[in-house]
Symmetry: C2
Subunit: 548 residues, 2 copies
C-alpha cells in the first residue's frame, strides 16, 4: 500500500529556504585578519548564493556539471556550498593539502568545468594548468580583483556575481542526485572519489542537529575549524545553517592562536577540529603569555583520533569546556559515531570510568547500522572485547567510488568495509583498536606508508624499507621510516631529497632508522606492529639497539 | 549526475534496530493502577515486537494489509506501533472517541483485516460487528485472557504472541510505503483518511528530536498524554524510541490527577498533551489538597490551542516548568510549527513580549514550507499583520485523502490548504487567528475568536472559554462567548470591562454563557460545532439549559 504523502525531495536548497526566513538576522563571521572579521547575515548570504547560482548558469554550468574549489574556510566558500548544489551542479572541494599531481588527477577525474580558488592558490592553479586540466573552462578567484596571472578566462568572484539578479528559483530534482564530491587518499594508487547525495547530506545534518551532546542549536556560535575542503567540513556548515546557529569561519592560514582569539573575541560556544587542535590551542594559550577568557566554549568536538584524557581534563578545568569526539570518514558523509554518554552510564560511573567511556568513539548516529566481522566473515558479538573489521551501511554511506575498480574491495553485499578495526561494547560504543594498518594520520591528514615505502625502496641505496606511525605530541602521529641500506654511505638527507620529488613536505618522515633487517611476519611481510612496539617500548635508542 | 550513496530506506524498523542495541536498558513504563506501573526495557520491547510480527504473519497479514487498533496509551499498543509497520503492514489507529458509526466507517473504508482492542472496548467492538465490519477476520484483545464474548475468532494478545519466535528479520521495502492510517473529522460528511509513510514518520521524528526547546533527548522521562489513537500520538512515541528516552504511558481512562501522580512518582521531565490538560492538572493539584513535587517536569508541550499566559506563568512559578506549544494537524504527520524563541529575540524582549511570543504557534519545523494566501490567491507578506489562508508542503504532508473526493478541496498545486487562517511575523512565527470556518465576520469586519478566547482565559476568574460565531440579522454574524468560571461571583460586566482594554467595542461579544464545561471534540479541542448547533437549535435559553 502506497502512502499518500507529498513527494517532496530532501534538497540542500530546502534547508536554505527555512534559514533565510527564520534566521535571516543570524550571522556568518569570517576572520580576515588579527581581530578583524567580515560578517553578514544569512539574509545577505542567501542573496549572494542566488547571485552565484545565476552566474554559474551564465557560465554554462548545468545540472550535474562539476565545479571545483580550492579554498580555505570563509564566507565565499560557504556560498559555493549551497550556490553550486542548489542549481543541481556538483561541488568538488579540492583538497588544498594534496600534492599538485593528485589535485590534477581529481580535477580531471570528475571533469571540473569551473575552478574557484583562493588568491593564495594562484601559483598552484597555474602549475595545475601546466600539468594539464583541460576540462576547466573558467577560473574564478575568491576575491574582489584578479591578481596578475597567465591564466585566461579568469574572473574575480565579486565581479562574477556583482551584476547578477538575486532572484533565483532553486530547481527541484531527485534527492539522490549528486551534491558534492570529495576524494579520499588511498593506501595505494590515486585518491578515490566519493559522490555525496543531497539526501545524504540533509539526513546527516539532521542527525548532527539531534545530538544534545553536540548541541548545535540556534543559540550556538559555532567555529568551523575542520577544513571545508575535506568531507564537506564534516557537514557542520550545513548543520549550522539548518539550525540557524551563528557560523564562524577562520579564513586563510589560521594558526592555533587565531582560534584562541576567535573564541575570545566572538564568544564562540562550540567548535569542531582535528584532534591536534585541542593540544595546539592549549599550547598557544600557554606560550601567548596572555590570560584568555575562553569560558564561552561549551563544546569542543575533536575528530580523527581519540583526544587524550589530559586534553579532556585541561579544557574542563580551565574553561568548563566539554571535549567530545566521534568517528567518521569520507565515505560516510562523514559521521558514523558520535560520543554521548547515556544517562544510565553517567549515573553509575566514577570519574575515571566516565573519562574512559568518553575515549571510546561513541555510538552509531541515527540511520547508521554497524557490524564487526571476524577473519572468516562471521559477525562478532558486541562485548567490548571481540576485535574485527568494522562495516557500516546507511543512507549516507558510499555504495561505490567514482569510476574506480577499488569499489569491489570495500563495498560488498550492501555494506561498506571501513578498513578500521576494533570492538563494540554492550551499549553500542565503538572502540577503535587500530586504523587501517598502512595509514598514518598526521595533523588530521592521511599519509600512506605504502606509498612512502615504495618511494624509499625505489632509491638505489635502499634494500628494504618500512614506514610506521609513531605517537607525536604535536601532530599525534608522524611517520617513522625503518630502512636497510645497501651501502653505508646512505644519509638521511639523501632520502629526504629523494622523497621531496613526489611527497609534500609534511608527509616526509622526520626520523629514519638504519637497520640491518626489518622484522618480518611469518609470511614474510614487514611486521609493523613489532617495529612500532619496539619504538614505543624504548624510544629510538632501543630500536636502534635491537634492530641495528 | 547520480550520487553514489547506498539506497537505504527510511523505515520505522531502522529506528528500532538502533534503540534495541544502544538503549536496551532504557524503559517503557505504563500506569496500570493508582501508583502501580508495568515496566520493561526496550530490549524486551524489541523481543515482543518481533513476536507480534511473527504472529501477524501467522494470521495471514501481508505487506500493505491493514491492522486496526482501539487502544489507550500502553506498552502493548506501543508494540503495534513498530510491530505492525515493521512487517510492511499498515497500522490503523481507530479513534476511541468517534461515534461507533464513524468507527465502523473508517474500519470498512481501509478494510482492516485484524482488530486489536482494549478489554474495555469489547462491548463497542461487538456493536461494530453488529453494525457490520466484514473485512475483519481476527479479533485480538490487548491482555492475558479473552473475556466472555460473542465474537468469534478472537485471541488474547498474550496468547497470540506467546509461542512465537523472537527471531524476525524486518523486511526492506520502499520508504514511501504506508506505515499508518489516521482519520480526521471533517466539517461535513465522513472522516477523511490520511495515509502516513515510513519516510514521513522517520523524518518527522528526527525533526522533533532536533528541537532543543522540546528537548527529547536520551535523558528525558517523557509522559505521552496525547492519545496514541490520534495522529500517531503526535509522533512522540517514535521520537522517544529514536532518542532512547524513557517513555511513560498513562494507560486506560487516565484522569488529570493520574498525570500529576505519574510526574511525581516517576520524576517525569517532559510531557505532551492537549491544552486543557495544563489547566486540568493545575486544578487537580489544587483540589487534591496534597503538596505535590512536580519540579522534575522541565517541559510541558500543550497542543491544539495556545496555552493561556496564566497557565504558562502558573507552571513556571510553581515548578519551573516551561510550557511550550506548536501547531499541527492530522494531515501533517502531524507537526507543522513548533515554538522556540530565537536567541536574538530572547535577548531583546521583556517578560511580556516573551510571553506574547510564546503564545504564537512557533516557526515551521525543518523540511516544512509554509505560505499565506489572500482571497485572490495572492501570496501575503510575513509582516505579522496580513491575514490569509495557511498552506503547507513537506515530505510528511498529505498529498491526498484516502479514496476521497474531498482531496480536490484541500490539495491544490502541490500544496495543502490547512483550513487555518492567520498571519506570519517577520521571524517566521505563525499566528493562528482561526479555523477559516470559525472566523467571525461581523458587519463586514473580521473578528478573531482565538484572540477573544486568549483574552478571556487570561482573566483570573475564567477557567475555560470559547467564542463562536452565531447568526445575527443586523450584523450577519456576532461572537458568542461560552465561559467556565472558576468563581461564581464572575459577571458579564467584569468580562466586558476586561476585554475593553484590548478590543474595539464592536468586537466584544454581546452575550456570555456561563457553563460548567465547554463541550469538547474527540481529541479534546473545544467543540465549536456543538456550541453553535446548540445555540442555533434553540437559542440562548436552550444552550443554557443543555450546557449549564
Amino acid at each position: 500500500m502506497e502512502s499518500l504523502m507529498m513527494d517532496r525531495q530532501l534538497l540542500l536548497s530546502s534547508l536554505l529556504w527555512r534559514t533565510e526566513r527564520l534566521f535571516h538576522d543570524k550571522k556568518i563571521i569570517t576572520r580576515i585578519g588579527d581581530g578583524q572579521y567580515h560578517e553578514y547575515t544569512y539574509r545577505e548570504y542567501g542573496t549572494r548564493v542566488r547571485k552565484l547560482a545565476n552566474a554559474l548558469g551564465r557560465l554554462g554550468i548545468g545540472h550535474g556539471d562539476r565545479v571545483g574549489t580550492l579554498g580555505w574556510n570563509h564566507y565565499r566558500h560557504m556560498e559555493t556550498y549551497f550556490g553550486v548544489p542548489g542549481t543541481g551542479a556538483v561541488l568538488h572541494t579540492v583538497n588544498l593539502r594534496l600534492f599538485p599531481e593528485q589535485q590534477r588527477f581529481t580535477i580531471n577525474k570528475v571533469s571540473d568545468k569551473v575552478l574557484i580558488f583562493d588568491p593564495d592558490q594562484l601559483a598552484l592553479v597555474e602549475e595545475l594548468v601546466d600539468l594539464g586540466i583541460p576540462t576547466v573552462e573558467t577560473f574564478v578567484v575568491f576575491g574582489d580583483t584578479v591578481p596578475e596571472t597567465r591564466l585566461s578566462n579568469v574572473y574575480s568572484y565579486e565581479e562574477l556575481i556583482a551584476a547578477e539578479s538575486d532572484e533565483y528559483e532553486f530547481p527541484e530534482f531527485d534527492e539522490h542526485d549528486a551534491a558534492a564530491i570529495c576524494f579520499t587518499s588511498a593506501t595505494t594508487g590515486d585518491p578515490k572519489g566519493v559522490v555525496y547525495s543531497h539526501r545524504g547530506m540533509v539526513l546527516q545534518a539532521m542527525c548532527l542537529a539531534m545530538h544534545d551532546k553536540l548541541g548545535m542549536s540556534e543559540d550556538q556560535v559555532w567555529l568551523e575549524v575542520a577544513p571545508m575542503f575535506h568531507c564537506n567540513g564534516w557537514n557542520i556548515p550545513h548543520t549550522a545553517l539548518l539550525q540557524g546557529s551563528t557560523l564562524v569561519l577562520p579564513g586563510a592560514h589560521p594558526q592555533p592562536l587565531d582560534y584562541v582569539r576567535m573564541v575570545s573575541d566572538l564568544k564562540v560556544t562550540g567548535m569542531n577540529a582535528a584532534v591536534t587542535i585541542g593540544t595546539l590551542m592549549r599550547d598557544a594559550v600557554h606560550t601567548s603569555g596572555q590570560d584568555w577568557d575562553l569560558s564561552s566554549l561549551r563544546t569542543m568536538w575533536l575528530g580523527g583520533q581519540a583526544p587524550s584524557k589530559a586534553i579532556m581534563n585541561w579544557w574542563a578545568e580551565q574553561y568548563g569546556t566539554y571535549v567530545t569526539q566521534g568517528w567518521g570518514m569520507t565515505e560516510n558523509t562523514p559521521q558514523i559515531c558520535f560520543s554521548a554518554i547515556k544517562s544510565t552510564l553517567r549515573e553509575s560511573a566514577g570519574d575515571d570510568e566516565l573519562l574512559a567511556l568518553r575515549q571510546k568513539q561513541g555510538q552509531p548516529i541515527p540511520l547508521v547500522e554497524i557490524r564487526i566481522l571476524g577473519p572468516e566473515g562471521e559477525e562478532l558479538p558486541w562485548d567490548g572485547e571481540s576485535v574485527g573489521d568494522f562495516w557500516v551501511r546507511s543512507p549516507f554511506t558510499a555504495s561505490a567510488y567514482y569510476e574506480d575498480e577499488r569499489t569491489a574491495e570495500n563495498m560488498v553485499g550492501g555494506w561498506f568495509r571501513t578498513g578500521d578495526v576494533g570492538a563494540i561494547d554492550g551499549d553500542g560504543y565503538v572502540i577503535l583498536k587500530d586504523r587501517s594498518k598502512d595509514l598514518i594520520k598526521s595533523g588530521g591528514e592521511w599519509i600512506s606508508s605504502i606509498d612512502l615505502e615504495n618511494a624509499l625502496m625505489a632509491h638505489p641505496k635502499v634494500r628494504e624499507a618500512t614506514v610506521v606511525n609513531i605517537p607525536d605530541e604535536k601532530w599525534l602521529e608522524r611517520p617513522l621510516a625503518c630502512v636497510v641500506p645497501t651501502d653505508d654511505s646512505l644519509t638521511e638527507d639523501e632520502l629526504r631529497t629523494h622523497l621531496a620529488v613526489d611527497f609534500a613536505k609534511w608527509s616526509i618522515p622526520d626520523r629514519f632508522l638504519f637497520v640491518r633487517e626489518v622484522p618480518k611476519t611469518g609470511v614474510g611481510k614487514y611486521d609493523k606492529k613489532v617495529v612500532r612496539s619496539l619504538y614505543t617500548d624504548g624510544g629510538f635508542d632501543a630500536v636502534e639497539a635491537k634492530l641495528g
